[in-house]
């Protein structure tokens, strides 16, 4: 096996945020600069090397190909900015290919090229298998994309590559022939997985936040995107028959739950025409009332695992897949129930068995659901334990196995989908850069950040990543004992921004984390584990932000810093954009205990809607207009200056 061997090693702990929730570099060698040959994006050795199998046209952190009778797995290692090539049959790693950036997903094209989305480089790198199977892949070209490309898909005719960009809030379309961008569509916050309808006319895009799915018209001239709402109906209590029903408690009013954690999508094979969206249905509580912790959740708890089933023909979800019903098992006396999949990250359908396979962080398992169920979440068929941090899965239908990539453990799991397999799960560790005590801490911290069902973190199964997916925010406003609180973004926003909490009640991150455990009714972490979690939280890298120096942004900076507007009076610090003090900006609502709120940092404010402690402003524009007189002044600004001010804020 040819592999990249570090010539120099030193002790450091650099980390970059990853698709699985935080990359932890285990060495300090910078990614090699790979010089691409001047051959464009096309293959130089057509029809050679591994070929795509099963016509899979959806990206993931693991993708399968076939050469002869051998199955090859390409694995995107985000931590080490590496692409691993593994012979699945012999369970041997054949080669590693250094990449130009941190890979979020990869996809094998019809001609065997491997396309890799580089999350931190706003680019897709195109590679070609080398002449020798055990040689690193050869780079062909790099294609610029919107900021933070995270997911890939190819249309059924293999003519177009679709790239969803998270922070860039876009879906880009690129002609596979020359990799030139055909068009780009603006999307709501945090788009992730993409799947294309069987007729190639529309793309379904999952969103991590916002209780929505985007449906993009690929065939129309304007490629319009419309939003499909994904909210769940929670029966609250339950309805019983007859007299007994009236005596038993439970609300008769349905509660609305909002979908979150929309990282993954999968398409059905048989029956056809279904798009599966693993997600979590969240009840953040009644923001107008103080609660005992974060949210109330009624009888069912704040977060419930879900799999939305979308009718591909009508673009509508089956209501049954979004309706939360009482858990009959508990009523029947079950005491120990399996921890739900509260952090789904990847999904694939095993066509041979009709099962939907979902990888779940936190429980570190692959959960199998019946893909034909009207509510797959209630039709779990079983689960397999895999390595920590499973972020990708690919199914080899004919060989009856699934290949899972676990980023946290840097391990590949081979799951036999055949009945009564003697060794249903085989785990294979892949090569990695050497770890150090510091990076080991970060690795532990990352696992703790994503630990669901850990009673030290919460009593209801939630993990840190439940409200802070990828270290960001869930765009929800939660009921708390202090009043309504909009979830803040963490990544890149903690350094030098103490105190913490909307009321500035916590002097440091440790205090705030401890306080959060109490709010979640967790028993708390101590010692090395608490240190590791805090270290990880502090290390989470924000998304790449392109420095915008255009005239509009410069004008916006002038407006921002003007005395008349007054923004800089509290947000003037040029590093954090926060004076780290509390102020009464007239924003208190009835449920708030205090009227004074800590000045939040404005870093990355453009991507963290809604705004204010209670999330009352759904957009930046509405905040700039609506906060007039209470927090700065904008009434005097012309429309062009409002636009400039907004552009400046989006550049921070």
């Amino acid at each position: 096996m040819k592999s990249w061997v570090p010539a120099v090693m030193s002790v450091a702990a650099a980390a970059a945020i990853g698709c699985g929730g935080g990359a932890v570099r285990t060495g300090t060698m910078p990614p090699q600069e790979v010089k691409a040959k001047a051959v464009g994006c096309a293959r130089v050795r057509p029809a050679q090397g591994p070929a795509r199998i099963d016509s899979v046209r959806v990206g993931g952190t693991v993708a399968l190909a076939r050469i002869g009778e051998s199955t090859i797995a390409y694995v995107a290692d985000e931590d080490d900015a590496m692409l691993h090539t593994v012979d699945v049959d012999t369970q041997r790693e054949l080669s590693t290919t250094p990449l130009l950036g941190a890979p979020s997903q990869l996809l094998v094209a019809a001609d065997g090229r491997v396309l890799v989305a580089l999350r931190d480089k706003a680019a897709v790198q195109v590679l070609e298998p080398a002449a020798a199977l055990n040689a690193p892949l050869e780079p062909r070209c790099t294609v610029p994309t919107a900021v933070e490309p995270l997911a890939l898909a190819i249309t059924p005719d293999d003519a177009t590559l679709l790239v969803s960009s998270g922070w860039g809030q876009a879906l880009g379309a690129y002609a596979m022939e020359d990799m030139k961008r055909s068009y780009q569509v603006h999307l709501p916050r945090e788009p992730r997985a993409v799947v294309v309808s069987d007729d190639g006319k529309k793309a379904f895009v999952a969103h991590v936040v916002g209780a929505q799915m985007s449906v993009v018209d690929l065939a129309g001239a304007d490629h319009r995107a419309r939003t499909l709402e994904l909210t769940g109906k929670d029966e609250g209590g339950f309805r019983r028959r007859g007299v007994l029903g009236s005596l038993v408690g439970g609300s008769s009013e349905p509660r609305v739950r909002r979908a979150c954690q929309g990282f993954a999508l999968a398409k059905s094979v048989e029956p056809e025409g279904r798009v599966f969206a693993p997600q979590v249905l969240v009840d953040p509580g009644n923001a107008e009332q103080a609660s005992e912790g974060y949210g109330s959740g009624g009888m069912m708890g704040p977060e419930i695992a879900s799999v939305a089933v979308i009718d591909e023909g009508t673009d509508a979800p089956l209501e049954s897949s979004l309706t939360v019903t009482p858990d009959v098992r508990r009523m029947a006396g079950a005491r120990t129930l399996a921890t739900e999949c509260l952090l789904p990250r990847a999904a694939a359908v095993d066509a041979a068995s009709g099962r939907l396979l979902v990888t779940c962080l936190g429980i570190d398992a692959v959960v199998a659901y019946d893909a034909a169920s009207a509510d797959p979440r209630t039709a779990e068929l079983g689960r397999w334990t895999v390595g920590a941090g499973p972020t990708g899965i690919a199914v080899d239908v004919s060989r009856r196995r699934a290949v899972v990539w676990s980023q946290f453990d840097r391990a590949m799991s081979l799951i036999s989908l055949a009945a009564e397999a003697k060794e249903p799960v085989v785990r294979l560790a892949l090569s990695r850069k050497a770890s150090t005590p510091e990076t080991a801490d970060l690795a532990l911290g990352r696992k703790l950040f994503h630990a669901t069902g850990d009673t030290r973190i919460s009593s209801d199964g939630r993990a840190c990543a439940s409200c802070h997916p990828d270290g960001r925010d869930d765009s929800l406003t939660w009921a708390t004992p202090d009043g309504p609180r909009q979830t803040p973004m963490l990544a890149g926003r903690l350094a030098k921004t103490a105190p913490f909490g909307w009321n500035g009640a916590n002097e440091d991150v440790r205090d705030h984390v401890t306080h959060t455990f109490e709010r979640l009714s967790g028993s708390g972490l101590e010692g090395r584990e608490l240190d590791a979690l805090i270290a990880f939280v502090g290390s989470m890298q924000p998304p790449q932000q392109r420095a915008a120096k255009d005239a509009l942004v410069l004008r916006g900076s002038e407006v921002f810093h003007s005395t008349e507007t007054g923004c800089a009076s509290c947000h003037g610090d040029t590093e954090t954009y926060s004076d780290r003090a509390t102020h009464d900006v007239g924003s208190r609502v009835a449920a708030d205990k205090s009227a004074r709120f800590d000045t939040p940092s404005l870093r990355f404010v453009g991507g963290t809607a809604p705004y204010f402690h209670d999330g009352r402003y759904p957009t930046l524009r509405s905040l700039l207009v609506g906060a007039e007189g209470k927090m700065g002044h904008t009434d005097h600004l012309a429309k062009a200056d409002i636009e400039a001010l907004e552009a400046y804020l989006r550049s921070l």
Partner: protein, 316 residues
């Protein structure tokens, strides 16, 4: 045919139906599920996908109409499987009797509200108190399993006179069932087709809870529960039944044999999920049935600092 489709080629046996007695169809076989962490057990057949089209349409007779009830029933008349007991003249209405059914038959009748009387298995009871002086219509339904593994519903319709305590059998119907799925411990779930709806029939060896397609919860004390599933285009419906079943006793360790003999039989919570759904591309409702253990498996260890990490901590 693609490899995927070939691997899933359904197995169906066509058969003709006749009258109210329906010949049992063997549905696609395949045990599914265990909830055990680390493995999925059972045969590698698809999750059970009954085909409504392959099931004969079944007719379950309507309940007896009390308007056609006889004026009285002779005191000595009896119906095998039903028993009457009670006291005279205790209530203002006059007599009341306790009607009970043998073999945990599910009982209902005209003495209950109309909505409750349609399906005797929902909140199924094996006995009822009848407080009235007029002849009541009674229905008793039970699940019958014969030695060949075939299943049917025996539906008994009778008249019961609370005054004379006489009972008169009006009609006995047998409805053949289709085996839909087999789960852990050989737990079998059956079904029948009524028009465009699947009725799931789940044995309930002990008290079980059920969630019907309308979201109503039922607690069942009789020998089975019957739940309807129907899906129009663009809709879906699902039902859940959960409750304990007896499981095989594991070999006792030395010294434990006496204790185990004295103890009750071990049970474990089982869960049946069934659904019907139909998208715009489905020519017919898609049915699915899944059976698994409801209880959690042993918990996985939490990510904790290793001994090495803790040792490093103490060295600093």
């Amino acid at each position: 045919m693609s490899p995927a489709r070939a691997a899933r080629a359904p197995r169906r046996i066509g058969i003709a139906a006749a009258g109210a007695v329906v010949i049992t169809l063997a549905a696609s076989a395949g045990a599914t599920v265990t909830g055990e962490l680390g493995a999925i057990g059972g045969a590698n057949s698809p999750p059970n996908r009954p085909s409504l089209a392959a099931m004969p349409d079944t007719t379950i007779p309507e309940a007896l109409d009390v308007r056609t009830a006889p004026a009285s029933v002779g005191a000595g008349e009896r119906v095998h499987g039903l028993d009457v007991s009670g006291m005279e003249g205790v209530s203002r209405s006059g007599s009341f009797i306790v009607l009970s059914a043998a073999h945990r038959r599910c009982l209902t009748g005209s003495f209950l509200s109309p909505a409750d009387g349609a399906n005797p298995t929902l909140d199924g009871q094996i006995s009822h108190t009848i407080i009235q002086r007029t002849v009541a219509a009674v229905r008793a339904e039970r699940l019958v399993l014969d030695s060949d593994g075939k299943a049917s519903l025996e539906i008994m319709d009778a008249w019961v006179d609370p005054v004379t305590r006489g009972m008169q059998l009006a009609r006995l119907t047998s409805v053949a069932l289709t085996k839909l799925a087999t789960g852990p411990e050989g737990f079998v779930v059956y079904g029948l087709r009524r028009g465009d709806a699947l009725e799931l029939v789940v044995p309930t060896p002990q008290r079980m809870s059920a969630l019907d397609a309308e979201g109503t919860i039922h607690s069942n004390s009789c020998d089975h529960v019957r739940l309807a599933l129907r899906a129009e285009v663009g809709t879906g419906a699902s039902v859940v039944v959960a409750g304990p079943i007896e499981v095989a006793r594991t070999a006792p360790a030395a010294g434990e044999a006496v204790k185990q003999l004295a103890a009750t039989k071990p049970t474990r919570m089982i869960q049946v999920n069934a659904s019907a759904s139909r998208t715009s591309r489905d020519p017919a409702p898609v049915l699915s049935v899944a059976i698994r253990w409801a209880e959690d498996a042993p918990k996985e260890p939490r990510p904790r600092a290793s001994a090495r990490e803790l040792a490093l901590d103490s060295e600093e």
